[in-house]
């Protein structure tokens, strides 16, 4: 344990996102998600109605099996929680994991 960790301010951030890409949270999106999550120090959990999982574990994230339209709650706890939530929200709701959404036709 690093000394001084306790002196860090504990920030808790939460948001709800909706999966909008057509194929849902399959392997590759799950990978993108955990790759971003792992860039942060804070603990990140993701919940659907039934389960809460570790947002840094690809196994747990992919097992959520969130399909298009599923709503997920992302919770971050730690110094850089704010940034983590905003980056993850952008990935899920703005970038749609760089994948097509049901409304949009696939680009080439």
């Amino acid at each position: 344990m690093q000394a001084g960790e306790n002196t860090l301010e504990t920030v808790v951030c939460e948001t709800e996102v909706e999966i909008k890409n057509a194929d849902g949270l399959h392997m590759r999106p799950a990978m993108q998600f955990v790759d971003i999550a792992n860039q942060f120090e804070c603990d990140i959990t993701v919940s659907n109605i039934e389960n809460t999982v570790d947002g840094k574990s690809i196994m747990q994230m992919s097992m959520l099996a969130a399909t298009c339209g599923t709503k997920l709650k992302i919770k971050a706890e730690g110094a850089d929680a704010q940034q983590a939530i905003s980056d993850l929200q952008e990935l899920v709701e703005k970038k749609h994991f760089d994948e097509p959404t049901p409304n949009k036709q696939k680009k080439s």
Partner: protein, 579 residues
């Protein structure tokens, strides 16, 4: 130390570290460990993750040129899983809480995850189960100590342990490193056993649950003489076996001395000993062991292990290579015997429900004429190089035999038109390996120059026993009186018609059956090359009168057990070292 009993199918002793192969579609059995071993297993699991990551990373850099994003992504995802601490923890926790092996924990955990995906209604997500299985394989490959692809690149001596081995797999083994073979399934006449025998690798099969008792890297003793496998032997046992192994080598050496002596009985009756081979490079082995020709040249190998059908030239090269070794000694080439457990099933959309009674062997050829004619052309072309004979397998009636002959005549006419040379008087024979052919032998004999009794299939079809099914394999016996009656009929009919007769099934390489066969009137045997010296020694130790007496006794017996016991005792008197 654990001792397992199976069926000895290829003689010799091997003491080596085990290599477990063929985990692919096979459920890793649950195997409990002593709690004190848990730390070792957890470390093995961690190492497996580390090694799998290294392997995958290296593979990725090698594949850098891959343009397709999705292929790159697949490996990237696998790598994330391998780096996933919670996955690793789930596995090591399982090892700890249930005291199981690392491979079982890996398999159980990943299969649970996979089944979680399979249950999802969304097709896209449920298909991800395949990725999980792939990750399972990656880890198991590390834990089970290399796998199939690595069997080709062995650098140290191993004993191969598997649930089941295919003949193709077995044939690919490098004899220099693969010192022994042991499998859960299989029987004395399964094709993998035949291949092991011809390669001269000690093998024991039908061990039922051996793979549950062995972990990759365990020391095992494979006793191919007595049908025993010892897992993690103590030092005393190893010592005993080393001594036994030396003694056995000495016996082999002694037998080697009689290689150059003729195969004649004590009353000077000449017996022809030929070799059964599968690959052209085995021809040399037949000569080394004192064989006088090839009595059964199996040609299926040409079709296995290759993406496309062999060309006429592929066939010709293989035959020419073998024939050139034997020059003017006989080489009997059997036309392809594909089907049932081999090849053809994989080409079908749906497997035949009952392949051994299905489209196999000559039936398959008669329905695939282009393929059949290609082979016949190649054999005929090779016939000018030596004393080649053609043999058709699995004939069941006169029509089939006539049809096969007609097609051969067509091919001959084609060659005539193209002025390609071949032996116009090439000898033609058939395998007698179905009860119907045995019963019709007197009629079939009119159309052919020779018969060869294929005892393996003849026994299977006569007794209605699947030779590879452990549940009934004890019913499969060469000593069954029904089988012996059929064999006797065929021999008598061949003699009446004055055509050549040989026995090329496993019976001909079993020391216990030699006196019986000689007594029944057989004078030509074709067998696995490594067995030739031992069989020759038996022949040189008996008189035909002894053999006739054995037959006379046996014809009065009605039970398989009585007959096999009698034969064992009779042989033991002749060649005690063989037991």
């Amino acid at each position: 130390m654990e001792i397992k009993k199976g069926i000895a199918v290829s003689p010799g002793i091997a003491i080596a570290k085990s290599l477990i192969i063929d985990s692919e579609d096979y459920l890793i059995p649950q195997r409990s460990i002593d709690p004190s071993q848990r730390r070792v297993e957890i470390q093995r699991a961690r190492n497996a993750f580390r090694d799998a990551i290294n392997e995958l990373t290296q593979f990725q850099t090698e594949q850098e040129t891959i343009e397709q994003r999705n292929i790159k992504d697949i490996f990237a995802v696998h790598l994330r899983f391998l780096h996933d601490r919670s996955l690793r923890k789930k596995i090591t926790d399982l090892v700890y809480s249930e005291s199981v092996t690392a491979e079982y924990a890996v398999s159980k955990t990943l299969r649970e995850i996979a089944s979680h995906f399979t249950k999802e209604k969304d097709a896209y997500i449920s298909e991800r189960a395949a990725d999980i299985y792939d990750i399972e394989r990656r880890l198991l490959k590390q834990l089970l100590g290399k796998k199939r692809e690595d069997v080709d690149h062995l650098t140290e001596e191993v004993a191969v342990v598997a649930r089941e081995l295919s003949p193709t797999q077995t044939a690919g083994f490098n004899k220099k490193f693969v010192k022994g073979i042991a499998s859960d399934a299989g029987g004395r006449t399964s094709h993998a056993a035949i291949v092991a025998r011809s390669l001269g690798i000690p093998a024991v099969v039908a061990l039922e649950d051996l793979t549950e008792s062995v972990t990759g890297g365990d020391t095992v003793i494979i006793d191919g003489n007595r049908g025993i496998v010892i897992v993690n032997p103590d030092s005393e046992t190893i010592q005993q076996y080393q001594q036994y192994s030396e003694e056995f080598a000495e016996l082999e050496h002694r037998l080697d001395k009689i290689k150059q002596k003729p195969a004649i009985t004590r009353g000077d009756v000449k017996i022809a000993l030929l070799g059964n081979i599968e690959f052209p490079n085995e021809a040399e082995l037949v000569l080394q062991k004192g064989g006088e020709g090839i009595g059964l040249y199996r040609t299926e190998f040409l079709y296995l292990n290759r993406p496309s059908e062999p060309t006429e030239e592929d066939h010709y090269q293989a035959y020419a290579e073998t024939v050139s070794v034997f020059k003017h000694r006989p080489v009997i080439i059997r036309t392809v015997d594909l089907g049932a457990d081999k090849y053809t099933q994989s080409k079908r959309f749906a497997p035949e429900p009952n392949p051994f009674l299905g489209l196999r062997s000559i039936r398959f050829c008669l329905q695939n004429l282009t393929m059949f004619k290609t082979q016949l052309r190649a054999i005929l072309r090779a016939s000018v190089l030596g004393k080649v004979k053609i043999m058709f397998p699995l004939i069941t009636n006169i029509q089939e035999s006539m049809q096969a002959k007609m097609i051969l005549r067509d091919v001959m006419e084609d060659l005539d038109e193209e002025s390609i040379a071949y032996n116009k008087h090439i000898q033609l024979g058939i395998m007698i390996e179905t009860p119907s052919a045995a019963l019709m032998a007197s009629t079939l004999a009119r159309d052919f120059d020779f018969f060869s009794i294929g005892t393996n299939d003849l026994i299977q079809y006569t007794l209605a026993v699947d030779r590879g099914n452990e549940l009934v394999s004890t019913l499969y016996s060469s000593a069954d009186p029904a089988v012996l009656r059929l064999i006797r009929t065929v021999i008598q009919d061949a003699h009446k018609a004055q055509i050549d007769l040989s026995v090329c099934g496993e019976m001909a390489s079993d020391p216990e059956y030699i006196m019986l066969l000689l007594g029944l009137g057989v004078r030509t045997l074709s067998l696995a090359p490594p067995m030739i010296p031992e069989i020759k020694q038996i022949i040189r130790s008996v008189t035909i009168e002894d053999c006739n007496n054995v037959v006379r006794k046996i014809l009065g017996m009605n039970s398989e057990r009585q007959i096999s016991n009698y034969l064992r005792d009779a042989t033991r008197k002749i060649l005690p070292e063989a037991f």
